[in-house]
Amino acid sequence: MDLSVKIGSGTLPNPVGVASGTFGYGSEYEKLIDVSALGAIFTKAITLEPRAGNEIPRIVETPAGILNSIGLANVGVEKFLKEKMEWLSKMPCAVVANIAGSSEEEYCRVMEKLETCQSIWGYEVNISCPNVKHGGLAFGTDPQQVQRLTGSLRKLTSKPLIVKLTPNVTDITVIAKAAQDSGADAVSCINTLVGMVIDVKKKAPVLPMKTGGLSGPAIRPVGVAMTYRVSRAVSIPVIGIGGIMNTDDALQYMLAGASAIQIGTGNFIDPKIATTILQGISDYMREENLQKITELHGNF
């Protein structure tokens, strides 16, 4: 059975990855899951300088979901390379560095520094974080900016380049096409949806940033629908994300057109979820007499 997935110049050993921001730098989970069995680890977003993150509280639970406002809290690119890559480089799975910034220049400088590390398999460009004042979502909602940023980053690397899309736009396929046309090898679909929870006693939003990013099973049907639309609008692979909690959810994304998937919020609920789903996908392929994972993509 061939579970490998080709993305640009690289190949993922299998289609199950863990989403940026939900798995730290990987080692946090080493006692709870066989990290080496994963297809890919999408790291916590990496910025040029360390970021402390947003005001607290940063999380509020919602029906079948969570609203977060972490604010890209991370150790910064220097410390990432110095302290986090040593452990990550021992992993046989693909290490995908998620990069973020407040300006095109920052994204480029982060990538230039990361390019010095051979163990990094590829990049996921975070142009869709709803929780920072500058950059993030501002890039992801404007096709021209997406095109310019992706084009600039494309010139800096021959490694797989994945653009993470926001669902907070009128037409996600326009952004996906802009990424594809400027050299992206794949798109991740979707980042969190903007949401708000209000404390009616305090008459104020629960999160100090007022809004946050909604994730978890509540958003799964949105993610599946967007994956379906995007996969039919572009010819590059789509990586499905959003509320995957079990094998059935993962298969829905793949049947909708995703070549690979990422588990996000699900890691918080059951740290073993990614390997359980990987096993579930293999079982399904066996039952369906499928030899290659690619036979599953968009197959309905």
Binding site: L32, R58, I59, G216
Partner: protein
Amino acid sequence: MKQFSATIIKNNKLCKDFFQLDFSWESEKPEAGQFLTIRICDCTVPLLRRPFAFSAFNNQSSIASIIFQRRGIGTELLAAKTPGEKIDVIGPLGNAFPLPEKIQKPILIAGGIGLGPILFLSSTLQDLNISSKFIFGCRNELSIPKSDQFSSQHPVICTDDGSAGFSGTVGDYLSSIWSTIESDSVFYSCGPHPMLAACHQFAQKNGSPSWISVEQIMACGVGACMGCAVKVKQAPGYARACKEGPVFSGYDMVW
């Protein structure tokens, strides 16, 4: 740290809305201050695992305990669990209370549902033959837990409405006995934020070490998501309640 399926041994109501859950333990020995997370049900509401501090650990029988308050969907479901049922647990997580140095006189202060970790610390000190003063504050006499472990620690009870024990908050009680507090005391506290702040102020006034256990909403519980941040003085200005904590020196916190 380990994820496993624990068997519930007992789920006893200790007082109005406080329960003690005893369950089998298959991971490293937990210490006072540490916590575990429980996936309360295989459902999407509630979604996140819930963190609970250990309130006791029996080394011989390998049974761990938590004390929880029934106050939402998750704890409502937990309160309904019966012996023999399984729960998905991860632990032990976080750091523990540093034990007092030989010359130090521990003062243990718990408020409401902050009882669990302080009670565990009190029992631990008792096992080590270290005498301590244990103060427990709650709303009224209905909020006083009825358990052998609790009464064996001979706590000073403070009630907000004066219906039992000292009439007033734990802060009021500390003020009332201030002249008797020794200079080589060490303060340990867990409870609502205003209580922690008050306890830390007392420790500061006395020039004593101050250890507090914080509560924060958590997502991963293992240091990955940065969701449970609390404000600290040291750069970058935040620390994770689940990893660097939940026990912090009061002197490191931004109050």
